[in-house]
Subunit: 144 residues, 2 copies
């Protein structure tokens, strides 16, 4: 157990990976294996280790949950509204990447993910946490 | 005291406020009252309260340490290298704002700041933490 004089938020990373196939954008989502929002779809992501750079955490979580790697991630924005995670205060640094491809790269849900899949932006399921808001902000920013 | 199953970083905000006077950019810095980096200059900023939105923390810390308020802050980037704070793992969300003015707004070092002052970018002192790196990144981004 770890004890501090003042309360501290948990720190996570989330990765929004877009793939454009014949003018249609897809996003890489995972189906959550665990509560909260169990079985809902979400960005691949998870908790930053205490001795791990936040960029490195993003690459690690993306690989662990989807098998996907080899793409440079850009930091987008940090989301920290106090009520965004029912487990308690959690602040998430969001990363993104965009690739264009002939085919959707093969991905596989592993670790905390039941499944991983590329979902066309016009067929989005309900998303966990504030990931719908994050995605909307990203789409505005990227002008997709 | 607050106890968690896994170690957690501390979360801070930092504010880089620029003021352009007759084509010369100045940055609002504070002289630190407390260790680490006591008496060195730094961005106004500080710890996010556990029930406080990170945006709100940025506005609060800026006002507490410099008296300055009334300007919309934009989120820039989050800095989280494990060794960036000698007190232990601390992740900082950096905000910025730019104003143009006839005169430098009056500011006053308060709370954790011995002094607050507008410093021309060509007369920068040594900065605390990784604030020199943050400032360099911001100047690249803003193309000043």
């Amino acid at each position: 157990m770890f004890t501090y004089k003042y309360p501290r938020p948990a720190l996570t990373v989330d990765c929004a990976i877009f793939c454009k196939i014949k003018s249609i954008y897809h996003i890489l989502l995972i189906q959550r294996a665990n509560p909260p929002f169990q079985k809902l779809w979400a960005f691949p992501g998870g908790f930053v280790d205490i001795d791990e750079d936040i960029d490195a955490a993003a690459y690690r979580e993306l690989k662990e949950e989807t098998g996907f790697e080899g793409l440079a991630l850009c930091q987008f924005k940090t989301y920290g509204k106090p009520d965004r995670d029912p487990r308690g205060r959690t602040v998430s640094v969001v990363y993104y990447a965009i690739l264009e491809s002939e085919n959707l790269p093969i991905v596989k849900g592993e670790d905390d993910a039941l499944k991983a899949d590329w979902i066309p932006l016009n067929h989005l399921p309900e998303l966990a946490f504030d990931h719908q808001k994050i995605l909307s902000d990203l789409l505005d920013y990227l002008q997709f």
